[in-house]
């Protein structure tokens, strides 16, 4: 059931794919703003540069937490791509994110603190919807295992379209895109200095960048899961979803954190719950 080959492929290939996705993202963003934009290899140059820089931290434990963040994000993605239990994947994802928050709290800096608190609010905002997504997948395919869901012939997207929409909503938070990039964001955007990553510099910031690439690939894999019945449609859907995220990023201003939490919980409660209830009703009660 657990396919170790896919886990290894993820560990080796995800940073390359994630970095390229980030580079293409920056290129498309630049074109949307009427600019030429950097090379699509720019994220790799940035991370290469960060590893050439001096490591200056306020507190040594920050480095430890940054390393834990990478390890648990790799674990999350590897478990997902190996076809493991979706619930465990979701919990590991939260744990990874918590390490980033702890790293930000480890430095005694007001900007870092505000960033960390906002990161916690983001976790609070997206977590219900992500768990509902896992539950929705179970109701649709009768399994929590990613391998079963991915190879299922059931058109998952047709059974849980509401949950898919809800997931897209929180995906904007997870990918750190406007209007929900309240804790930190990409490119040249600024948010209370640099939010949760303010106190990280040099190699540890590079690690956080690489983690974000892993996370992007993992999240796009999650989107694919809705279309597992047809790989071609799945890949096309993943590309369309990411382009849509770039469009949303470039056409929206950042909102306040209150709206992020309220709206994502509301979306989870409305589209997620209604979708699940309809599914239960149609299948004639609890399966």
């Amino acid at each position: 059931m657990i396919n170790i080959v896919w886990a290894i492929v993820f560990i080796l290939v995800a940073p390359v794919v994630g970095g390229l996705v980030a580079g293409i993202d920056r290129k498309i963003t630049a074109h949307m703003q009427g600019r030429v934009g950097p090379s699509i290899l720019q994220p790799f140059y940035d991370v290469g540069k960060l590893f050439e820089k001096e490591q200056t931290v306020v507190n040594e434990t920050q480095i430890f937490y940054a390393i834990c963040y990478v390890i648990f994000m790799i674990f999350t993605g590897a478990l997902f791509f190996a076809g493991g239990d979706l619930l465990l994947v979701v919990f590991a994802l939260t744990l990874a994110q918590i390490f980033l928050v702890l790293g930000a709290f480890a430095a005694n800096s007001p900007y870092s603190y505000v960033g960390a608190e906002r990161e916690l609010l983001q976790i609070m905002a997206y977590e219900p919807m992500v768990i509902l997504t896992a539950v929705g997948m179970f109701v649709a395919t009768k399994s929590f295992n990613v391998s079963d869901i991915a190879s299922s012939t059931t058109p998952v997207i047709l059974l849980i379209p509401g949950i898919f929409l809800g997931f897209l909503y929180v995906l904007t938070i997870k990918l750190r895109k406007s209007p929900f990039d309240i804790s930190t964001s990409h490119h040249a955007h600024q948010e209370i200095v640099k939010g949760v990553t303010t106190e990280f510099s040099g190699p540890s910031l590079g690690l956080i960048e690489i983690t974000h690439w892993y996370e992007t690939v993992f999240l796009l894999g999650f989107v694919y899961l809705f279309f597992g019945f047809n790989p071609l449609i799945g890949v096309v859907a993943v590309i369309i979803v990411y382009l849509l995220e770039i469009l949303i990023d470039n056409t929206n201003a950042r909102v306040k954190w209150q709206l992020v939490v309220k709206s994502s919980w509301l979306i989870a409660a409305i589209v997620g719950m209604v979708n699940l209830a309809a599914l239960y009703y149609l299948s004639g009660g609890v399966p």
């Binding site: 920056r26 630049a30 703003q33 009427g34 600019r35 030429v36 934009g37 950097p38 090379s39 720019q42 140059y45 940035d46 290469g48 540069k49 590893f51 050439e52 820089k53 001096e54 490591q55 200056t56 490119h187 040249a188 600024q190 200095v193 640099k194 990553t197 303010t198 106190e199 990280f200 510099s201 040099g202 910031l205």
Partner: protein, 163 residues
């Protein structure tokens, strides 16, 4: 060629500038000049920055801020003084509250004169800074920790100071 030259992130600080040079720096980020195509990002966080871009001259209010930003930047780092005020104090150099150019306080690597400095010359200054960054990385130059201790002691001594 190292990665440093391909991804120079800047932090921009306005030290008592009239805003003329600052507008020109921001013009560099617009679609017209688009410095992001060289990988240049305006970070707003000294801990992420490689190039410290300062406009305007030093006065009593900003000398501590400039030193603080400089000290917080990880090595290798480069300082670019943009505009004649940052280079030498410009027309304000004789003012009672102005100490002079940025090099009175922190080591400056690139001077970009002009009032206001044109975006082309600012970009030229930053491109020159890449070379210095690479050189500093190769020679493992560690920048000095700058401090204003003597200056502050002097002010404490001369009651009231030049505030």
């Amino acid at each position: 060629m190292t990665y440093l030259a391909k991804s120079p992130w800047i932090i921009h600080y306005d030290a008592s500038s009239c805003n003329g040079c600052d507008i020109e720096i921001l013009a560099c980020l617009t679609p017209m000049y688009d410095v992001e195509r060289f990988g240049i990002i305006n970070t707003g966080n000294p801990k992420h920055a490689d190039i410290f871009v300062v406009t305007g001259s030093i006065n009593e209010a900003n000398r501590e801020v400039i030193q603080n930003i400089y000290n917080q930047m990880p090595d290798p780092k480069v300082v670019v003084a943009v505009g004649i005020c940052a280079c030498s104090g410009g027309v304000f150099r004789e003012c009672y509250n102005v100490a002079g150019g940025i090099d009175k306080l922190i080591p400056v690597d690139v001077y970009v004169p002009g009032c206001a400095a044109r975006p082309e010359s600012i970009i030229d200054g930053i491109v020159t800074a890449w070379g210095i960054l690479e050189e500093k990385l190769k020679n493992k130059v560690s920048s000095p920790m700058v401090s204003d201790h003597d200056h502050k002691a002097h002010h404490k001594h001369a009651q009231g100071g030049a505030q």
